[in-house]
Amino acid sequence: MSVSVLQYCSTTFAITLLAPWVPVVGLEIHAQISSNSKLFSGSQVQFAAPPNSLVSFFDASLPGTLPVLNRRCVEAAVMTGLALNCSINKKSLFDRKHYFYADLPAGYQITQQRVPIAVNGSLSYSLCIDNKMSQMVTKTVRIKQIQLEQDSGKSLHDDTRSQTLVDLNRAGVGLMEVVMEPDMCCGEEAAAAVRELQLILQTLGSSQAVMSEGQLRVDANVSVHHPGEPYGVRTEVKNINSIRFLAKAVDYEIQRQIKELESGRTILNETRAFDSKLGCTVPMRDKEGKQDYRFMPEPNLPPLILYDAKSLPANMNHQQVVNIDWIHERLPDLPSVKRAKLVERYGILPEHSFTLLNEDGLSEFFEDVIKQTQMKPKKVIGWILKDLLSYLKKHSLTVKESPVSSFLLADLLNRLEEKEISSTAAKQVFAELWKGEGKTPLEIVKEKKLQLIQDQKDLEQICQTVMAIKAGNRKVLNKLIGLVQRETQGRSNPVLVKQLLEKKLSE
């Protein structure tokens, strides 16, 4: 299953010649709002707290308790809506969605079914063609809506003892459900769109959006049809917990549907789970059967009214209102703007700006290095992407965890720029720095005798030696071998060096 996404896409294309299939992918993404307290209660929000330690009376649905909307969650949703080019509804409504489940204490979820807080947006994302970083295309997916809703608790099924354990810590945490229109056609597009959304959310701070901690959950709606025909029956793929798996799950599902249809079978409108170990989707044990959620207006929450500079009532307590314009003015630079600025300011390639932003903290690291070095940004970027990033990847570390700080790297690059060391030596110093032994580049250079030989007499002597050999004086060859040994710190095989030198000199 390690076949790349694009191979899938081209397979699809190959089949097209016989019986064309158009895959359609839409996404429903739940992003947990980064806030101190829950959407409708004062309980704290915290990942991996002891079970049921963050549960208010409301979260446990004790009779008589009422929801009180968390202003921070509203602001996070407005921010996200603005960042995704949505129109923000000045009046939105809350609804109850009913179903019985052990981790849903009230028997309903408060959500925004009728009038959500933000609608009609768009998200631009880029992806590379044929896995070539140099060939990037930008695509756009429409955002249908963003709605505020409560998270559920967690059920842990213990099948051996046939019991279910419930943890309500997550129950009532604020979610933004971002609904993306079915504008995508393969796993890689879906993955790129989600990655861009993730970056936006993290930039805004509206969600930490860490998929492995469940702060970003993606469900994919997949169908295939022939061009000119209505969309096919779709399946919903759940249980996708990384962006890489999203691409795999979507592509698997597209291929599965095509195979099914081409063998004359039909697609069921069902929910499927992605099995990351097997790399395929499997029908989910339908926990609720066909559900009628019996939506109803939430009677305990008045309509959510938002203001802008024009509609803001003069006598209103500012603590009580959310001002869309105020939030708009304070939006941070979004990833697309950040990338453009990086390209413009430092003259780096656009694809490099993507890599810089894709790694959390990498663009900041890059800019920190730039500030502390005379080396041209175009050269610095090579060090960042080729050296630092590959070391990080190799050791599965984040930028923050890098043993080489921006200060040390800048110091090293300055020595390189001032020709104190050669670029080969610099790489050696970097490798030493990575060990994190607390040595400075200078100390390493001295210790390892990596200084560039700058002394004119020394160099003249070496050159003379070479000339002498060229002239036929084979005795000085030993001197040359000595120099190679010095350069390689005695690790080179003298016999081999001698053979090589003799060959080179006779050219």
């Binding site: 004790l62 009779p63 009422l66 019985f100 204490p105 009230a106 019996r294 929450l301 009580q320």
Partner: protein, 524 residues
């Protein structure tokens, strides 16, 4: 003493003529001797006495917390009370002790009131008789009054007081009976379709349903969130104004409460109605309205006319759709609100453990009575995707029309509406249970229900005794948040009609002073 109004007792406490503990003891012993009324589900004797002692200390220091300090009160058993069982008269919550106080309960306690206990109701407040709770029906104290006994002719000797007793109305029948039988000086009820005003009318007490949003619902176990209002039951209009003043205002825990601060008010001792315009909605001349009440209603209208008020007939054309509309909206919210009772977090849990689903089903079958289950069933039906538009949305539209009727009438210059509260006086229990809960609720809410649809303040004022010697009340409906005007009119009317005091043997034995306040002349 026991039959006095809260205001008089408050003065007595202040002057030291009676001590809070003594007052509390007297109420507690009266509760015991009137136990057969079944007005209370839980009597919190110990905590009540403790609260009375605390109050007494404050009085001794000369620092009482206000007019409510030391006043014994009762609270309907659908309000959460920390440490005291809250059952909603249901098997589902039998033995349930809430960890928190409802905002209204907390406010009363903060002002020094002594909480005697929790009063009986229809299960989850679903009913109009206070007959459908798991702890049995509430008996109307007037069943045992001299007034009723004199007028009702026992069919035979064998039929003792156990066959003739009449219902309290409901669903706040326990609270109404508690105030009416002098076991407390004020009580909290709840009012969704008339549940405070209806029993108030049948028990001869004042029953106030404030404007929706004026009093916090936090801690009131909901029936219909969009219509529920904590209700106030007292012996006189002035007392209702005092309790209202102590409860009203914004609550950060209830987002549907008003944002503005509420200023408590006192009612003038010489209320004036001469400049008012009183509307008589013709639709309240409903089928089944007893001729007695009809006569009383027009007599009341004449009273206002004679006092110089303008009395005009008005029309609220959509009121007749109120009951059917309420049926849809109420059951839908009930279906939703009751979903939380699944046996997992609290309340009854069935032993059935085959699966989570079977446990839910068994828990809910065992925990809820037929009325609750029936409403859940119809509510879910109305909310089904294919029915939602035809039922729920339509009912919401009709609700808007009903509310707009009131807006139009009040917009035309009418200040207050005058209507009957009930179709007739209280019927005997044996009569009442001949019809099912649904039919009864539909009949009994007919005159009170529209005010809930529109969120308007309304009050029952006890007016006279019927030919059978039972209380009959009339209802005033006011403009939104115009409680002061509403209560002023109610107070004026109260003064005119001089409703007689109940004459109870049980009370007489406990309190010799009770009859000295008896009014000599009555309205009829």
């Amino acid at each position: 003493m026991m039959g006095n109004t809260m205001s008089l007792v408050s003065a007595a406490l202040k002057e030291g003529r009676v001590a809070p503990t003594e007052l509390c003891q007297r109420c507690l012993s009266l509760i015991k001797s009137t136990k057969f009324l079944n007005a209370y589900i839980t009597v919190a004797e110990e905590t009540a006495l403790k609260q009375a002692e605390e109050s007494e200390k404050r009085y001794r220091r000369g620092q009482p917390l206000g007019v409510l300090d030391g006043i014994p009160i009762a609270v309907k058993d659908n309000f959460n009370t920390a440490g005291i069982e809250t059952t909603c008269a249901s098997n589902m919550l039998k033995g349930y002790i809430s960890p928190y106080n409802a905002t209204v309960v907390q406010k009363l306690l903060d002002q020094g009131a002594v909480l005697l206990g929790k009063t009986n109701l229809d299960e989850f407040a679903m009913g109009s008789g206070s007959t459908d709770g798991v702890f049995g029906p509430v008996r109307n104290p007037w069943s045992y009054s001299r007034q009723y006994k004199e007028k009702s002719v026992p069919k035979s000797h064998s039929e003792d007081k156990d066959s003739n007793w009449v219902i309290t109305g409901g669903s706040s029948g326990g609270s109404a009976a508690a105030v009416s039988s002098f076991t407390c000086f004020a009580a909290l009820g709840s009012d969704t379709g008339g549940s405070t005003r209806n029993p108030a009318a049948h028990c001869g007490v004042v029953g106030l349903k404030p404007t929706y949003g004026l009093i916090s619902r936090h801690g009131l176990i909901p029936l219909v969130n969009s219509m529920d209002v904590p209700g106030i039951l007292t012996r006189c209009v002035d007392d209702a104004a005092v309790v209202l003043g102590s409860l009203a205002g914004h609550d950060p825990k209830d987002s549907t409460t008003i944002q503005d601060n509420f200023k408590p008010f006192e009612l003038s001792n010489l209320p004036d109605v001469s400049k008012l315009s009183i509307g008589i909605p013709k639709e309240y001349h409903a089928p089944g309205l007893s001729s007695e009440i009809l006569a009383l209603w027009s007599k009341a209208a004449d009273l206002f006319k004679n006092a110089g008020a303008k009395v005009i007939e008005v029309s609220l054309p959509h009121t007749r759709y109120s009951i059917v509309c309420y049926h849809v909206l109420c059951t839908a919210e009930v279906a939703s609100n009751m979903a939380r009772f699944d046996g997992l977090e609290y309340g009854h849990r069935s032993d059935m453990n085959k699966s989570t689903e079977s446990m839910y089903a068994a828990t809910r079958r065992e925990g809820f009575n037929d009325v609750v289950r029936g409403r859940i069933l119809s509510g879910n039906y109305f909310m089904l995707k294919q029915n939602y538009e035809n039922y729920f949305i339509k009912a919401q539209k009709v609700r808007r029309l009903i509310a707009n009727d009131f807006v139009k009438v009040f917009g035309s210059g009418v200040d207050i509406l005058l209507t009957p509260t009930t179709l007739s006086d209280a019927v005997p229990y044996t009569e009442f249970i001949k019809e099912d809960n649904r039919t009864r609720s539909a009949q009994d809410d007919i005159l009170t229900q529209a005010a809930n649809m529109a969120g308007l303040p309304a009050i029952n004022v006890p007016t006279a005794l019927s030919e059978r010697g039972l209380p009959v009340g009339l209802q005033f409906i006011g403009r939104s948040f115009q409680e002061k005007q509403l209560l002023t009119v109610a107070k004026w009317f109260e003064k005119q009609v001089k409703f007689p005091t109940i004459q109870l043997e049980e009370v007489k034995r406990h309190d010799h002073g009770v009859f000295q306040h008896q009014k000599s002349a009555s309205f009829l």
